[in-house]
Structures are given as structure tokens and as C-alpha cells.
């Protein structure tokens, strides 16, 4: 008589993965898993499907109707900055400035305007609670959650001027590499880099891009989300 088991956990694992990969907007309680919806303490990959890049609408920022940019009250400018970061964060300073200038009907980013935006960003990043303060990271602005769990978004859908790999944060590039290895089982570094940036709309893996991706890849390996085995990269879901 054989001792072969009848059942298997394979279907349960597959169904659980299916649930992890779907948005769950109705989940607001965490009694079955306390802390489930809390801000992660470190970088955590988003497993949801690739979504279109959403750009903030400059006309909806409330910056119109002022004589010049310096006439905009501080609270109005700060609200506009928050609104752009809400939608597009992590967002590069240049992209943020573009949206604000377009909203205010100003054509050129001069040094005084730049300084004013930077001052407001400094103020917003110096809030009392870390979770409610903007994070400034190497020219990128984001809420803490956006850096710890960045969105998996398709930059092909971004406005043409925004569509630059320099405007993509390292946290987002980590996600791109992780998803290429997890979803497509890309074990080779070069293939993972190529497929990763290709998935979000950047088609050329140049030397500059390759160099840019080294730091995110190193962070993935250091944090344990990815390991390098004899036959290449393997994604791991850290619990």
C-alpha cells in the first residue's frame, strides 16, 4: 500500500497569492492580523498589477488667479505641493515644479521661484510626526508610505516631459527589479534589469541605466528580498 497523501497545499498557496495580487480597498480592520495596514517599517514590494501613471491636474491645484508666483499664499502653495505628491509621489522636484508652474500659469522656473518651492518643501518635511512629513530624498519628494511601498506604475502613461528614468525613485526601481524576478522568474541580472525597466515603459538598458540600477539591486540583496543563488537571482517574500 502506498503512503501517498491525497491532498496538497498547492491550491491554497495559489489562491492566497491571487488574493495578495488584487487590490483590497474594503480592508480597513486588522483584527485577524494586527498591524496589517500599518506603515511598513522598511521597503516592502507592492504585488498589485501594473497601473497607469497618474499625473496631477495643474488646473485643480488652486494656484490660478494670482498676479505672480510669489503672490501665492504659503498655505495654498503647500496644499498644492501636497496634492501633487499625493498623486505622483515619489515625484522628482522638476516634475513637481512643472505642475506648480503650469497651475500658476508661469512659464519658467527661475531661481527665486525654485528657492520658494524648496523653502516650502523644507517646511513640509520638518513636521512633527515622521509619517505625516514629506520625505526629501535625492531630488525626489514623497510621503513615507510612497517610499516604503512604492506604486508599480506604467510610465508610458505619464506626460511626455515626465517620462524620464531619472525621475523614477530608487524605491520604485527596487520594485521594478523585484517584480521582474518574482513575476517572470528572470534569474539573470541583465535580463531582470532589461525586463524590469521595459515593464514600466523604458525600453533601452544603456550603460547609464545599468549603473543607475546597481544601487536598487544591491539594496534588494542586502535586505533579503532577493538572493543570488548559483543559477541566478531569486525573489523572496520577507514576512
Amino acid at each position: 500500500m502506498s503512503g501517498r497523501r491525497l491532498g496538497s497545499f498547492a491550491a491554497a498557496v495559489a489562491l492566497h497569492e491571487n488574493l495578495l495580487r488584487r487590490p483590497d480597498p474594503d480592508a480597513t480592520e486588522t483584527r485577524l492580523h494586527p498591524g496589517r495596514l500599518d506603515l511598513p517599517s522598511s521597503w516592502t514590494p507592492d504585488l498589485l498589477p501594473l497601473s497607469a501613471y497618474r499625473a496631477a491636474d495643474p488646473a485643480a491645484l488652486g494656484l490660478g488667479g494670482f498676479d505672480d508666483f510669489h503672490a501665492i499664499p504659503e498655505d495654498v502653495l503647500e496644499a498644492a505641493i501636497k496634492a501633487v505628491v499625493d498623486v505622483e509621489g515619489p515625484v522628482h522636484f522638476d516634475v513637481l515644479a512643472d505642475r506648480l508652474l503650469e497651475g500658476a500659469g508661469v512659464g519658467r522656473l527661475g531661481s527665486r521661484i525654485r528657492e520658494r518651492i524648496e523653502v516650502r518643501l523644507e517646511a513640509l518635511s520638518a513636521g512633527a510626526g515622521a509619517a505625516s512629513s514629506l520625505q526629501l530624498d535625492d531630488g525626489l519628494i514623497a510621503w513615507p508610505r510612497q517610499l516604503l511601498s512604492p506604486p508599480y506604475r506604467d510610465w508610458r502613461e505619464a506626460p511626455e516631459k515626465t517620462r524620464q528614468l531619472d525621475y523614477v525613485s530608487d524605491a520604485e526601481l527596487m520594485l521594478v527589479l523585484f517584480r521582474a524576478v518574482l513575476d517572470d522568474a528572470c534569474r539573470d541580472r541583465e535580463v531582470a534589469m532589461n525586463d524590469g525597466i521595459h515593464a514600466i515603459g523604458f525600453i533601452r538598458l544603456t550603460d547609464n541605466v545599468r549603473a543607475r540600477l546597481q544601487a536598487p539591486l544591491a539594496r534588494l540583496l542586502a535586505s533579503g528580498w532577493m538572493v543570488e543563488e548559483a543559477d541566478g537571482l531569486v525573489a523572496q517574500l520577507v514576512t
Binding site: 491525497l6 491532498g7 497545499f9 491554497a12 480597513t28 531569486v234 514576512t239
Partner: protein, 333 residues
């Protein structure tokens, strides 16, 4: 055309009669050699034959011929199917049947015929040959009928035994089953959730599924935790295995806390009640296909840890209702 039609088959697939038939010449074993010619004029056929003289014939009706030959009047008719042909002649009517060998005439056996290896025989010898052939055919048919009868009887007996075993197993399972209905357990589960202030509808779906799996696969067999190796054997390199195991571990801890204050006399109602409400909350937020998959995934996971317990049988019954899955037996409409 081959010599004397050797190797040629008739419409029944048998060797044609051994003879030569040319346009004007016919040569056969019994008829010898004869020259013949045929003309048709005004609906009347005239056939001259060096052996049989001149015949004048015409078609009286379908399959009916009248003729004069050497001063004799001829009337011929043949009607009906191969199984029972009606033969008409001046002397009356007879009935014949086609057999595998030839034709047997039931009224006048002397007019029977057989053909064997292209050799045509007529008369009483042919009737005897046909009789023997029919006797063997009948014996073979009888054997076939008996064989089929035995096969059918065997199948019937097998089906009856299978039905009996099924009934016996169902009766045994019914004796061993928990007789708890959803109406009995749902209020208990709701009371626990209310006391704990839990709203399952607002819990993440992944945690609802992990909790359902924990209740059915682990608590249903008295197991408190799940080792990762128990899962990894089914999906060795799947990176999602540790995530599921961790979700189950955390859910198990929470569920144990909720159940800790339950008095023992409540028995399985508490876990069944929780299972019902958590399953229902999950079902409300996933589509039909996933509901069915969830049910089978839980069942499969239960079996992966060993034979199902009586409590697990009851849990799956509750889960069918809470997930709203309609089960159909194979072949059922």
C-alpha cells in the same frame, strides 16, 4: 474482367459464379457453351440462344416479367426484401429468404440455391446446405445472445453491489457525522465576533482566507500550528509559501484568543460558527469562481495533513453554505 470471374466479388462480397459471359457467348459448368443475342423493339425483348431457343419477353409491372419461349408461357415475379422475398410463377407463389450461402425457398425447398466458391448449386442439395448453414447461424446467434445476457447480468450485479456499498457507506457516515446545522452554529460565531468587536467584512481578504484555512485544516484536526515544511513539500520553491504560513500563524494566534473564553460545553459550535462568518465575509468579496476554488483549496489542504476528521467533514459542510458554492455530483443535471 478476370478469367471465368475468378477473384471477382458479388454485391455480398462472395466469389461470383464461375462462368464466362461475353457479349454473345456464355460458358458455364452446367449450361455448357451457348451463343446468344438480344434485341429490344417496341418494349418487347427478343433473345436468341443456341441452347434454349428464342424468348420473347416484356415487363408487365415492376419486378414482373411475362415471356414466351419455345411455345411455353413464362410468368416470373420477385418482390419484397431479402429477408422474405415473394416469388411469383405460373404454378403459384412461394417465399424465399436470402442466407449467407444463397437463398432458401420455404415453400418449395427444391428451388433453393447455394453458391460456394463460385459454384452454384440448386435443388434439394442446396436446401440441405442452407438448412445446415441456418442451424449454425442460429446457434451462433444464440451464443451471442447468451453471452450478452451474462455480460448484462454481471454489470447489473456490479451496479447493485456498488449501490449497496454506497448506501452502507452513507449510512455509516451519517452515523458518524456531527448533526449541527448552520442555524445552530451561526449565532454562536456571531456572539464571539460581537464580544471581540470584530467585523469580518472589513478584514483583508488574504487574512480571511488564512483564518478559514487555519480553522478547517488545523483546528479541525486539533492541530495548533502549521510547520512550513508541511506546506513546502507541495510547492518547494514558491516564494508565497512563507507568506501563507505566516498569515495562518498570526490568524491562529488571534482565533485562539477569541476562542479561549468559550466554555467547553459549546463543543464545536464555536469554531464552526466562526468558520461560517469568516467564510461568508470572504465569499462576499470574491467572485463565484474564486469561491469554488477556495472551497476545494481548503478541502485539499485538510487532506494534505491527513485523513479528514469528523469535525472537518462538518466544517466543509458549513463552508459550502457560507461560501455559497453549489456542489453537483458528477453526471447530475
Amino acid at each position: 474482367m478476370g478469367l471465368f470471374k475468378f477473384g471477382e466479388k458479388d454485391r455480398d462480397g462472395r466469389q461470383k459464379r464461375i462462368e464466362h459471359t461475353g457479349r454473345y457467348l456464355r460458358a458455364s459448368r452446367t449450361g455448357g457453351v451457348a451463343l446468344r443475342a438480344h434485341v429490344k423493339a417496341g418494349g418487347v425483348n427478343v433473345t436468341g440462344n443456341t441452347s434454349h431457343g428464342v424468348r420473347v419477353s416484356t415487363r408487365l409491372a415492376k419486378n414482373t416479367q411475362v415471356a414466351m419461349q419455345n411455345g411455353r408461357f413464362i410468368l416470373r415475379g420477385r418482390y419484397g426484401s431479402d429477408a422474405a422475398k415473394i416469388n411469383l410463377s405460373k404454378s403459384g407463389v412461394s417465399v424465399s429468404t436470402k442466407t449467407g450461402l444463397g437463398t432458401i425457398n420455404w415453400v418449395r425447398p427444391g428451388r433453393s440455391s447455394v453458391k460456394f466458391a463460385g459454384v452454384q448449386l440448386r435443388g434439394h442439395k442446396a436446401a440441405a446446405a442452407n438448412g445446415i448453414y441456418l442451424a449454425f447461424t442460429a446457434l451462433a446467434a444464440l451464443s451471442r445472445v447468451l453471452f450478452r445476457g451474462f455480460v448484462l447480468a454481471g454489470r447489473g450485479l456490479g451496479a447493485a453491489v456498488q449501490w449497496g456499498v454506497g448506501e452502507w457507506q452513507q449510512a455509516r457516515q451519517a452515523r458518524e457525522r456531527l448533526t449541527l446545522r448552520v442555524e445552530d452554529v451561526a449565532p454562536v460565531g456571531q456572539r464571539i465576533l460581537d464580544e471581540q468587536g470584530v467585523d469580518p467584512a472589513a478584514e483583508p481578504r488574504r487574512d480571511l482566507f488564512a483564518a478559514v484555512l487555519c480553522l478547517a485544516a488545523l483546528f479541525g484536526r486539533g492541530q495548533a500550528s502549521l510547520a512550513i515544511d508541511e506546506v513546502r513539500t507541495d510547492a518547494p520553491d514558491d516564494p508565497f509559501v512563507p507568506v501563507l504560513v505566516d498569515d495562518i500563524r498570526v490568524a491562529a494566534g488571534q482565533l485562539r484568543e477569541w476562542l479561549a473564553d468559550e466554555p467547553d460545553e459549546n463543543g464545536p459550535e464555536a469554531v464552526l460558527g466562526l468558520l461560517y462568518h469568516l467564510g461568508r465575509a470572504l465569499a462576499d468579496r470574491i467572485d463565484d469562481e474564486l469561491r469554488a476554488e477556495a472551497l476545494f483549496a481548503v478541502d485539499d489542504a485538510c487532506l494534505a495533513l491527513g485523513e479528514r476528521t469528523i469535525l472537518q467533514d462538518a466544517m466543509l459542510d458549513v463552508l459550502v453554505e457560507s461560501l455559497g458554492v453549489e456542489l453537483k455530483l458528477a453526471g447530475e443535471r
